[in-house]
Each structure stands twice: as C-alpha cells, then as structure tokens.
Amino acid sequence: MSINRLPAPLGLYIKRDKTINFMFEGQRYQGVEGDTIASALIANDQWLMSRSFKYHRPRGPLTMAGQDANTLVQLKSEPNVLADKHFIRADLEVVGQNYNGSLENDKDAKLSYAGRFMPVGFYYRAFYKPIGIWDKWEPFIRKKAGLGFADLTFKPVYHDKAYLFHDVAVIGAGPAGLAAALKAADAGASVLLVDENPILGGALTYHRFDVEGVRANELRTQLTESVVNHSNITILNNATCNGWFTDNYLPIIQGNRMYKARAKQCIVASGAFEQHVVFRNNDVPGVVMSSAAMRLMSQYAIKPANKAVVLTGNDDGYLCALELVRNGVQVPVIVDMRPNGADEALQKAVAEQGIKIRLNATVYEALPSSDKKRLSAVQVHDITGKGQVSAGGVTIPCDLLCMSAGYMPVYQLLCQAGAKLSYNDDSARFSLTNLPKNLYVAGSANGVHELDAVIRDGELAAYKSLTSLGIPSSEPEVVSCVKQTNFPWPIFKHPKGKDFVDFDEDLQAKDIVNATRLGYRDVQLVKRFSTVGMGPSQGRHSALPTARLVAEATNRTVTETGVTTARPPFVPEKLAHIAGRIFSPHKYTPMHQRHLELGAHMIPAGIWRRPAYYGDPVNRDKLIQQEAEMVRNAVGMIDVSTLGGLEVRGPDAAEFVNRIYTFGFLKQPIGKTRYAVLTNEQGVVVDDGVACRIAEDHFYVTATTSGVDAVYREMTKWNAQWRLKVDIANVTSAFSAVNVAGPLARKVLSKVCFDVDFSNEAFPYLAYKEGTIDGVPVRLLRVGFVGELGYEIHMPSLFGEGIWDRLMDAGKEFEMKPFGVETQRLLRLEKGHIIVSQDTDGMSHPGELSLNWAINRKKPFFVGSRSVDIVMARKQTRKLVGFKLDSQATRPKEGHLVLANASQVDCAITGNITSSEYSSTMGANIGMAFVGIDQQEVGSTFPIRVDKGEVVMAEVVKLPFYDANNARQEVL
C-alpha cells in the first residue's frame, strides 16, 4: 500500500518505507516508523482521538507537541498517554478516553448541553450538602469524569537512575540551545544538551522563518551536524528535564531512566508555547495551533487539510499560510486580528499566492461538521473593540483553522528556580528576571523571536556560563528583539459560551470571569476554585488568557495578576521513575547464614535483620516460651552483633566517658564494666550501654543497636569542642558478639576458651576479660541482662561465624540452642531491665525510670546534668512501673493507654504501656508502663484501655518480676 505523504525533505521524523500497523478503537490503521499515534491517525484522516474531561466533547490534537490534553488515549496497560508524543509500534492497541459507549457515539456527549447548569464549582457546591451526600455521588461522577483506567494486572518493568556531571547543561535544542551548546563546547566546557524530541533543532524542525522557506532547514542541518560531531557535547534526545532543583540538580527522564544531572551552569532554552484564540467552539477537531499544522507537514510529511483558514495576531500566521499553500493546501483567507497586518514583503508574498487578507477581524465561532468530528467552517467577524465583534459575520468553509495569537515562554523550570515572570501590558511581551546564580535563559523563552537574535542570545548565555566557569571566550553583542509576536487581546467571549480558556478542564471564558465575581481575585484562588491550569497541560495555554481575564475583571495589569506557581514535574512522571531501583540498605550479622539455616524468623531491627525466634511464626508464643525456659533452666545463645560498640582511647579517655555518661567513671577499675546511661542536653535518657575499662586509657563502650550512630556523632561533636586527648571510634561492625546465658553458660565457655578462668571468683559478675578461642582474640563481659549467669563474647567480625559454630558445637551436650530477640525481650522484661527507646520516650528523664542510682551527682558535669537537676527538682508527674495481669485477662499491647480511673468518661490519660508479654516463668501477663505519679504504689491497680474500648485492671509490681536478689546471675 502506498503511503499518502508529502515528498521529502518533509517528514523529518518518519521513515516512510517502514509501515507499521496498529489498532485504534478496534480498527486497524497503518502508519510509518517515526509516526506518533496522532500523526498516523491524522494521515488516515482520523482527527477525533478522545473526549473532553467534563463535557465529553470530541477532541483532536491542538499542538502536535504533547502540550495539550486533547489527545490523551488509553493503551492496554497505560492510561493517559499523549497520542501526539507516543510513537506507534506494531500491535499497539489504542482507544480513546472519557466516553460512554464509543468514541464516535458518546452517550454522555449531551453533558455538553447541560453545561450551563454545571457552572464552575458545581460539584463542590451541589453535592456537599447535606453532609455525606458526596460519598453517594462521587462514584457516579468519577465514572463520568475520570481520565483513563489503571490496569491492575500491570507488571512493573525495570526503571533506574543515573547521575550525569557536566559543566554546562542546555535545556532545549532549538536554535538558541544549539548555538549555546556549540559556543560552550568550542571553548572546552563539557556540555549536556537535552531535548524532548527525536531530532534536534526545535523550531527549526517545523517553523518557517523566511518568505522563501529555506532558512530553517539549512540552519538546522548546519547546527546539528556541528553539535552531533562535537566531542564535548553529550546529547540526550527524547528526554525531558522535568524540574529544576537547587544548585542545578536536574531530573531528566529518558525512557525508563531518570538522570540526575548535576551541572555547574545551566542554560534554559526551552522555547515558547504558541497560544490559542478564545472563541466559540475553539476546541472542534481541526482547530489547531499554526505550529501544529507546520509540525504535521515538516515532521510527518502530512498534508493536514484540503482547505485551511489562518487566524493570526502576528507575522508567523502568514508564514504558516505560505507553508500550507506550498504543500497543496488551499488557503482562502488569512484572518488577521491586527489592524495593520504583516510587513510588506509578507503581505506581497501571500497576495501572490492568491490568499486574501482580512485585517481587524477574528473567527468568532467554529462550526463542526454534522457528525461533530471535524471542523467544517468558521465564522469571521470584524473586531470592533477589545474582545468585541460586529454583529454580522461571514461563514468560510474549511477543514482546518490555524491559530497564531502569540507565544508564552516555557517559564516552568525558570520559575521553579525562583525567576519572576513579567508581562508588559502595552507590548504584550514577557520577560524573566531574578534568576539564581549559574542559571541563564536564552531564545524565545527569553522573549527573543527573530532567528539571528535567537542564535546570538544562545551564544550570550553560553558566554555568561563560560565566564562563571572561568573559561575565556569572545563576548557576543547584546541582543535586542523588536518583533512583536503577541496579540494583546485574543479573547472573544460568546454569549452561548464554549469559548474555551482551558481545554483540559473544559473551562470557558465566563467561568474565569465568574470566579472573580464570586470574590476570587487572586489568580491562585481562581485556580483553586475553577481548577484552571490543574489539568495535564498545567496551564500551558490557559495561564495567559486566565491572567488576562482576571486582570481585566479586577482592573489590574497582567503583571500584577501574575501566573500561578510552577512546580515540578514539568510533565507527568511515573512513580517508577521516581522510585528507580530500590536502595534500602540493610545489615546482616556475620552469623546471618546460620540463622537462616536454623529456620529463624527474621525481623527488621532498625537497619538490621535479626532472628525474632527460631521456627514458624504460627508458633510464635510457644517458641518464645520454649526458648525462654531453655535459658532459665539450661543455656542458650543469642547473636548480639547488632549491639553498638565504641572505642574510647587516649590519656583523657576516662575524663571523656565521665563527661558523656551519667555515672562516675574516673575511678572505674581496669577489668570491670559499669552501666552507662546517656542523657541529652535536655536531660532525657537517649541511650544506654556498658562501659568496659580495658586499660587506664582505654574504654570499650556498648550502645543500643539503633542509637550507636547518634551516640558516636554526639561524642565526636562534643570533643570537637572540648579538645580532650582522646580518639573515638565506632567499631559496631568490627565486632560481632553473642551472649551465652543460662545456668550452664560457664560450662560451655570453659570448653572453648582455655586461657580464661571462668570461676566466679576469678571472673565475677560485671568483670571484663580478654582471651582467645582457637587463636581468635575475644573480649568477654560477664553480664546479667536476661537475668541468668551470662557472658557476652565479642570477636572481630570476620571470625564471627566460626566462633558461633564453635560455641554451638560446645553447647551440644548441654542442649544449647540459639534464642531470638523477642525471647530476649521477654527475659529482660522478667528481670525488669528497660530498653531505651522502647520503655522510654522523648520526655523520659532518669527519675521517671528509677535510674537515680546510675547518676553521679558529685561530678562537676555530664551532658544533661543541669537539665536533670532541674527536672528532678520539680514535682514528678509519671513513673515507669512493672505490672502484671492474670494470664486469662486480655493482654495489653505496647502503646495502649493507662487511664486515671476506670470510668472512661472524661477520663484523663496518665500513661501508656511500653512492654507487654506473657511470661510462663511468672505464669502471668507482665509488662512495664508509664503510670501517673499517684498510681505507682506497689500492690495498687490501674486501668488500661485495650483494644475495642475494653478496660482491664493491672496490678503494680515491684521490679524485677524475677529473681529479686540476683541469685541467678551469681550461680556458681
């Protein structure tokens, strides 16, 4: 089959010999490689592609550049795809969106006639009273109004991210961007050139800049050749720079990858969006921007119509008309909104082609064909004043209307960077000022439209970038542009409406004006009330007419009115792009493989993975009780490698530890350990551990798993001020550790470590020793955390697994098994030991935790000492206590509330449960809780509100629950 396309060199995007078949609305269509869905459909004369969001009006492409929401289509597993950006491939299945029935015959199209009963804010105002009614209406309205549908069987595909590092990033590869990139690269800078299109050139790929129509292609060929062959330039095309973040941090999406470009200098040459004219039915398929018609011809080699009318407010409309005629389109008339028309040469060239010119006139209404799917004629009226037209008009049949009302800078990235957008109401010209350091704007984004000036503007931006980089280069002349491209008031309200300001949201001119009448004077409020600019095209075309309408209605200038805030992303981005690869670091202990082999149920403990217990989670309670009984009655072993470890060494080591922790450490004997509580400057307990004095000038201090990094930071920060002679090292990962606990622990240790005397006399409770196991040096701490005879063995990590194996082997004859962290939590709870950050919160001072004994009040200073003094001198309000409940009672959960009394009516909350577990050793549910200061008496009861509002009574118990005189940990 022959492809009906215009001859080369038109068709820059396509390979006309490679045909591709795809499906649209269940019908087979043929396009060629390089076609977008929209261009392929238009080549087949199918202009209707989707329906509008609110009124279900038929819609076709407006920009052919992905800047409007008129072409949102549904792919099999992807909704809201831009038909004018998405390339076709074989077997693509496309359908339209927002219709009930079929795209051609939408049963909801009559909504359009109900439009006057559905003013802006209609939904909010009509469906919110009485309260609750919205819940009933919402599903119905969502179905009528929503965009595409999500495919719930969708399988995620690989997305990732990568950094790019360049001296200069140039956003946009139009004439300004190409010129800027070349100048910067020629001077030796490394340049990143980013463009959203498949080929470089920007407006040079479609716009006609001269009467003869040769300049653009010549210049494009010349510039792109130099850029492509330049070794200093990296090109990213089909790529969108989707935001600007501080210090030129630029997220650039290309395919499934998001680049995070870091540029020392950034030049935004993002171009300008052509603007539409507001008149009745300006959304009928076939009403397009002039640039869209030129894109269809130049990029896709498509003859866009048989007969076209051009509606213009600048000279570019004339150039578009010439291009249309060159490609066989009849252009009966150019309707020029200006009173004086274009420059003489253009008028002459147009006249030579037999095109009539009607000055001081506008299209007042577009007339659709009888099936509503395509433009059939336009009605042209004389302009009699600002936005005013004569009564009578003439009807001109045509199947295409090209609009050129002017341009608005693509200001989004620049305004995200803090630039201010200004508009001169007299010249209708935009400017961007107040740019941060190392960011520049060039080309039509900078309000420069004449081609030579655009090139120079690009070079000027490159010169400024190079100067900031300290690279010498020649200074271009300052650019001035006199060409006026914006018609000041291209808005012609129609009494019957459908004169769209915002196509995405189906907003008409009166909707904006009405918003101001309801009191929304600020453009930000107009946006929130009317939803103008909130659709997928984010105000690319609605921002300017909205600003003009609001300015007029409130007697202000457009600059005073301003535009709404631009925020990233510039185009919609997928969550998969933001997520990229999942970098969620987690830590394993050296015994990790062993835990897995033993069937451990692994749980996250901060950044670590730890065994909760060994066995199937369905047997959780039973497994924990079994493991606990093993430790109480024989011996068990737990991997405590996650424990934080800090080395404090140097002549001032004792002085330093003494200043950091609450206890006294100056006189701590060598070979002894001491409980170490850390308070912050507010006097709150933030960490605890054990300080081992290894030598006069050497402490090894443990810290909590989750707290050690913060403790290390605090320690080093303090010593950056104190300047003590001490070295502080975080050795958490350098040591792995186990705790062998239970009455038989000594027997196990004695079988593997022969150079240490484990007798109670030689190695008493709280002593520290060093020894070797199979030649591996180990640090040994006699501990009682779980309330039994116990030893912590700390060994260098690369030996961790080996020592674990050796100990497991030695424990075999005593039926020693490993136990998990949940079992350890139960055992220490029975013993009444707190876990900082579980049994404490951001307000807990030592007095509330009964830790007064661990504070040395005689030393001159410790971090938090003064605050502890102050809070302890005050009236206390709560206390951490032990409690128990009958084993039959509902077991409270951690976080459940403690009440002042059981009545529940207007009842004050006095505290909360911090730990709670069933203890088979005690035969009861036990726990710890903060209670009111008057609820702390041992033997008294206090109410706890558990799930579903039930209240249970718990009895205060003196801690510890188990082995009050510490006989167990002293077992001989």
Binding site: Y249, R723, N730
Partner: protein, 103 residues
C-alpha cells in the same frame, strides 16, 4: 538537591550531611540560672541572619562549621571547628557555696 562544600571532602550532595544545630556557647552549668540554661537548651532566635551551624559529613565522620543565611539558604563558608575551638575545655567542680541558682 543542594550542594555543601565540606572542608575535608569538597562539594557534596546535602544528603551526605547531618545537621548538628547552631553553635552556641554553653553557660556555666553550675552557676547559671535555670532561665539561662533553658535559653541555651531550648531557645533559638529564628531570625533572618547568618547563622553558624554544626554539620557532620557522615561518610567520613567529620564535624565542621558552616555559616549560612537563613533567608537565602546560601552557605557562605565552611571551616574546621578548630578555628573556633582550639583550647581544652575544663569543667570546674561545684564551688562550696554555689552562686544563687535562681529560677
């Protein structure tokens, strides 16, 4: 993402750093009033000005000091803490008759 210049490691993404609060002179914990102590611990001026702050470069475990403008968020300079702290700090024992510790 913002870039900060670490005196040891050079310019880096701000995500490599941990904020450590303003640099403040600690009043004498034994002799100051409760009010002075509370102001030191809890109060911050929070005005538009250049603040001197502690910052920690996490990958190298290095504390340094940065001067930053609170309105523009511009980091004016960064330097090693030894420029401000170059003497060993001592804490005296409580004097026998402590100065009035008024509330």
């Amino acid at each position: 993402m913002k870039i900060m210049n670490c005196p040891l490691n050079g310019p880096r993404n701000i995500s490599e750093f941990v904020y450590g609060g303003e640099v403040k002179a600690m009043p004498n914990a034994l002799t100051c009033s409760d009010k002075e102590w509370a102001e030191y611990v809890f109060y911050s001026e929070n005005t538009i000005r250049v603040v001197t702050e502690w910052w920690f470069h996490s990958p190298s475990g290095y504390w340094f000091i940065a001067e930053r403008h609170t309105a523009s968020d511009e980091i004016l300079k960064t330097y090693d803490p030894s420029e401000l702290f170059n003497k060993r700090v001592e804490f005296e024992s409580a004097p026998e008759s402590a100065e009035e510790k008024t509330v």
